[in-house]
Symmetry: C2
Subunit: 359 residues, 2 copies
């Protein structure tokens, strides 16, 4: 798949929901920040000649990696960049600031996406379904090794990898998981859980970064510290904490099912009723209802809906994806109408497919 | 149908929705207050002998009316009395105060229901579907004539019919209509409309009397004055006002459909989604959602649902009817669960019948 195909495709690798604990751990992500030795960091590369040289160096560095393709962000439309953001393959800043020297390198499935000249020269990201931090690290590390054969990184024996922002110095690694925690949220336990997480040097953010904490009951947990810990330590720490949170979420779900059976079923079925019948729907409401529906499917309150479909929908209902589906620019009001249609059609199709199968 | 059968039957005459304007005017009701000459009013009949005599007189007075049957309220269970109230055939007070000398006289279809020894010795009521005030008056008047052949009424040439409460003296008549006004309510116009109504000597109450004004967007409009106006005047006044309000409601619905198409469709479909999917539902929420569904059917936003079914549901979801359906006493929490089931099953059956028909 080329980048343009990857953007158009409703599915990228992480949506498959085929990883371990994929009902609660939506994604595992490893990101490695790397910079070229002897070159100014991106925010300092004011001269066009320098920028061109960095771009060329990276471009040449890919010659032994036929699976990886570099595309300049300036070759993408506004909508395509937004779609990459909505698919969680680039950062908001990288979607916004357009320059011929900013780029993205992807593999065929979108499991590896490297931002070029974002905050660092290279931000190697690997994004997988479920709790697969080790696997994601292996892919990111392999990619890193491939690139390192061709490129000379800014590396200091004492400090480790040098990065544009000092908080990334050292391993240059950020490991994160995206968790779906409806039961802990519903029962007001998330505060306590997140406090514990913070004390272990980890940070909690919302679905699309800071300030989106409660959106659809999705939470990103990631390491804060990149210096003085090995990659293995960081991953093990996050892995252990994640497993613990997953267990708490599962226990709370069980408790809800035994102690608040009717209220829980009512909440889930109401959300299903709303999401399959509404004619106008904001993005935030859709995420909240999709969260309830996912919980209902997990707990077998609702008939089965493939988790991949729910993961796809979470992205398909975002503004740029909606406009791509509709084939044109849309104002907010029209998007809200189209969003309701897209969800209704998708979920009704699953229901009628299921009926046909049962006939 | 005997009274017990009438109570059990989900349908009484007014629910048929076969009268004129029955989409907006749910019922027309005429009530005539009558008292026996030379007998103390019910609240003054402290001696048992007097009470017995009144009861016997009325009982004998029915001898030429084979269609009318008298039953003592003390022969009915609490639940049966509540069901009569929920069917709008008796008043809250008549359901509550049990005495062997309080009774109800009904015809086979429940279109005529006479309360015996409620506030007056006789309260002849006729309740029909749609805007049928003249027809309802004719039935009530015919019944009144039949009874008057056998009974001597307390009547004064100057004052007219004498009644327990002076506000009913004169014609002893109260004429009322039950209106479904979702569009006027939604657009905050009901205040202005009801002010106009009040200036014409009419009163607005809620579905179950005072204090239930906004319940399901149903409003009872009735005359206040019984003295100094003929029955014809009272009915003509109410009829004219009702037609005017119906026209305002229809105009507002049209305006909503042209100016707020998507919001209206969204509201209606959301309510339909909720009412067919919720697992727990209070009576008030059910009425509010049924109101939206009725509006949706009227405006052809939703596929057709016979209005009789919606009228039946409005009563079937009340506590006593729910418990009768369930065959046992239920606490509020269980009723809320049963209510959700009853509505869901009824509406889903209509949908699947419609599908079978279309196949």
């Amino acid at each position: 798949m080329t980048l343009k195909e990857l953007i158009k495709n409703p599915v990228v690798s992480w949506m498959a929901a085929d990883g371990p604990e994929a009902d609660i751990v939506i994604t595992s992500r490893i990101r490695l920040a790397r910079n070229l030795a002897g070159m100014p960091f991106p925010h300092l590369m004011s001269e066009q000649k320098v920028a061109e040289k960095i771009w060329e160096t990276i471009s040449k560095g890919l010659k032994n990696s036929p699976d990886l393709k570099l595309v300049s962000m300036s070759k993408l439309t506004d909508m395509e960049r937004q779609m990459l953001l909505e698919k969680h393959l680039i950062s908001p800043e990288h979607a916004e600031v357009v320059s011929p020297y900013r780029g993205i390198i992807t593999n065929k499935t979108g499991s590896v996406a490297i931002m070029v000249n974002e905050e660092d020269h290279l931000r190697i990201q690997c994004l997988l379904s479920g709790l697969q931090l080790n696997q994601a690290y292996r892919y990111a590390d392999d990619t890193d090794d491939l690139l390192e054969k061709e490129l000379e990184y800014a590396f200091d024996d004492q400090w480790g990898y040098l990065t544009s922002c000092p908080t990334n110095v050292g391993t240059g690694m950020r490991a994160s998981v995206m968790l779906h925690l409806p039961a802990l949220t519903m029962t007001n336990q998330k505060g306590a859980v997140f406090n514990n997480i913070a004390q272990l040097g980890l940070t909690v953010r919302g679905l699309y970064g800071e300030g989106t904490e409660a959106l659809g009951n999705f939470y990103q947990v990631s390491n804060q510290i990149t210096l003085g810990q090995t990659e293995e330590d960081i991953i093990n720490n996050l892995w252990t904490v994640t497993l613990h949170v997953v267990e708490q979420e599962r226990n709370t779900r069980e408790r809800l099912q035994s102690e608040m059976k009717y209220q829980l079923e009512d909440k889930v079925w109401r959300s299903y009723g709303l999401i399959t019948h509404a004619r106008v729907m904001t993005s935030n409401e859709a995420l909240a209802l999709l969260s309830d529906v996912a919980l209902g499917v997990d707990l077998k309150i609702l008939p089965p809906i493939p988790r991949q479909i729910l993961n796809e929908l979470m992205v398909a209902i975002r503004p740029a994806h909606l406009q791509a589906t509709g084939g044109r620019k849309m104002e907010t009001a029209e998007r809200d109408i189209t969003r309701a249609q897209v969800i209704k059609n998708t979920l009704n199709k699953i229901r009628s497919d299921r009926r046909d199968k049962n006939d």
